[in-house]
Symmetry: C2
């Protein structure tokens, strides 16, 4: 009954960009669930930019992963053995099992997923944490009004793609920023954004100005860095800036954008900007609204999504390092195990 299992642990805290030696793959024997516990088999592992923060031990809203600890992450998992009356063998659950093939859980924090409602991978994507980050940040902080202009970077990614599509549903103009022509074409043609600009374009600032002739009312900030510098001067009075990530800064926080400085505060004052940081769990009370709206829009075809799948747990470190550089095209997932074991 003992099963061989694999996990990826944090070997060392990265300085700047994570490198392969910051991760270590370990093989072990999957434990047997004790009283009240279940044994989970990972099907999908979600890779997300916030994980870079967990690798460092600087101040943050969450504790870091300890050295030699399993890397954290959301998963879609199957219950393969259960001593917990709340879960049956074969149940598909949303879990935070992390970067490993198997995990023990006492059932707390597990949420059952109905495979009939949507592909199970969407539970860590458009109908999960990234989708809800987009939904709450845009609607509860950004508050786009019909006719306003919403700009979002990483526009082909899990959060950005949902932000722009929800903005369109609410009658706003959606301008995306993404890396490269293929992503920009996808954002415009498939996702229906009004426009999408390449952040590698040396004329980004000028093109953004052209694409937003009435200025920018909402900038959904998930990137920082040079994109921020291009966007910030175009913000209108009373613009709102939900801040859920700064991926361009994660490897070198605060050092890449010395231009911000006091100019930022001057603009906050003269334009009466609202800048508000958030993480998705701050809006836990909105989860019901999110699921109702987002799954409805998803079924109606108003919200499209794209997945970028890497095969096998072993590939997770490379996929994660790629994610931080924008190598993914769509929601980054690791296929850890088959849908049916």
């Amino acid at each position: 009954m003992s099963q061989s299992a694999k996990r990826i642990v944090l070997a060392s805290r990265p300085v700047g960009e994570p490198k392969p030696s910051d991760f270590r793959l370990e093989e072990y024997t999957a434990p047997t669930p004790g009283e009240g516990q279940v044994l989970l088999r990972t099907i999908w592992l979600s890779l997300d930019p916030y994980m870079r923060g967990r690798m460092s031990d600087g101040p943050s809203y969450a504790a870091p992963v300890p050295i030699d600890g399993v890397m954290e992450g959301g998963t879609v998992s199957e219950v393969i053995a259960s001593n917990n009356s709340g879960f049956a063998k074969g149940d598909i659950v949303l879990s935070r099992a992390g970067w490993q093939t198997h995990a023990i859980s006492d059932g707390k924090g597990l949420a059952k997923i109905d495979p009939k409602l949507a592909p199970i991978s969407t539970a860590v994507g458009v109908l999960g944490m990234p989708g809800m980050t987009a939904y709450t940040g845009l609607l509860d902080i950004g508050k786009p009004q019909a006719g306003e202009t919403v700009v979002v970077a990483a526009a082909s990614g899990a959060v950005g793609s949902a932000v722009g599509q929800i903005a369109r549903i609410k009658g706003a103009r959606a301008i995306g920023i993404a890396g490269g022509k293929d992503k920009c074409d996808y954002v415009k043609k498939e996702l229906g954004f009004d426009d999408c600009l390449d952040h590698r374009d040396p004329d980004l600032a000028a093109k953004l100005k052209d694409a937003c002739p009435k200025g920018i009312d909402v900038y959904f900030e998930n990137v920082g860095g040079a994109v921020f510098d291009a966007v910030f001067p175009q913000l209108n009075a009373f613009a709102r800036m939900p801040v859920c990530g700064l991926i361009a800064e994660y490897n070198n926080f605060g050092e890449t954008s010395p231009k911000w400085g006091g100019k930022l505060m001057r603009a906050v004052l003269t334009k009466r900007l609202t800048i508000r940081g958030f993480i998705v769990s701050d809006f836990a009370s909105r989860h019901g609204d999110f699921l109702r709206d987002m799954s409805g829009w998803f079924r109606e075809g108003k919200i499209k999504h794209k997945e970028f799948v890497t095969e096998g747990l072993d590939s997770a470190p490379a996929a994660f390092m790629g994610l931080l550089k924008g190598a993914n095209f769509g929601k980054q997932l690791v296929r850890v195990g088959p849908d049916k074991a």
Copy 2:
């Protein structure tokens, strides 16, 4: 019937600190009011930090004073001749007559002041724009909860003194920052703040940490510069920062605090801060609430105020230059004319 009048105009746009030659005193003959107009005699001129912004022609929420134009400012004035059925000779009005002894008005924007309710000078102070800036910024953006810690700089000034006292009324702890022992003593003993620290103290950051053992929940930002640098690291998660002024930055906007940079945005994200710029007119709809509450608290003795009076219009430039350096102790007013002509 012609009266000799004086006005102070903007002679040149200051670079850095304003200097006497940036102002010019002019003598002229007060005009005669035409059809529908009134002639006003200035009693009180309010001097406020925002005026530094009007002297420059950089981007802001309001147009600059033109070169050779009369310096802008709120006044308490007496109607000394009226061809407007809405106003009678002898009426006391709140006006934006600017830095001059006399002004013509068509009546628009004038608000009558009842001298029986409170000293008329409070209409440009604790019961006027500075008081309402404190009231709306603190209550509508800062939203202090009972037991939370509110920090405000320029704590003996027109806005800061009201911020701390309202915070106390709402059950929060109020920590002031002010320049020098006399001001700090006044803030603690007369205004009843829980503590007040001297911004000239080289150990300000450490003392602020001691004074705020549970961190800072609301920082009412009206100063910027070194005070901001001391406060910012002590902000708690979910702290709110209403931004109504950056007086330490006005002479050299954005250049004095290179330390902010990306660190600010990192903190916005990890602490889920809200930073929101505002000017008092954004909250015009709250004017009735403000007057009801503030005049009530004023009458009950819960809100104290202090005026710092300079005599004569000629003294306005020097008083204003002093205001930018914190030379005033209390709400800066210029006594332009007697209460009764």
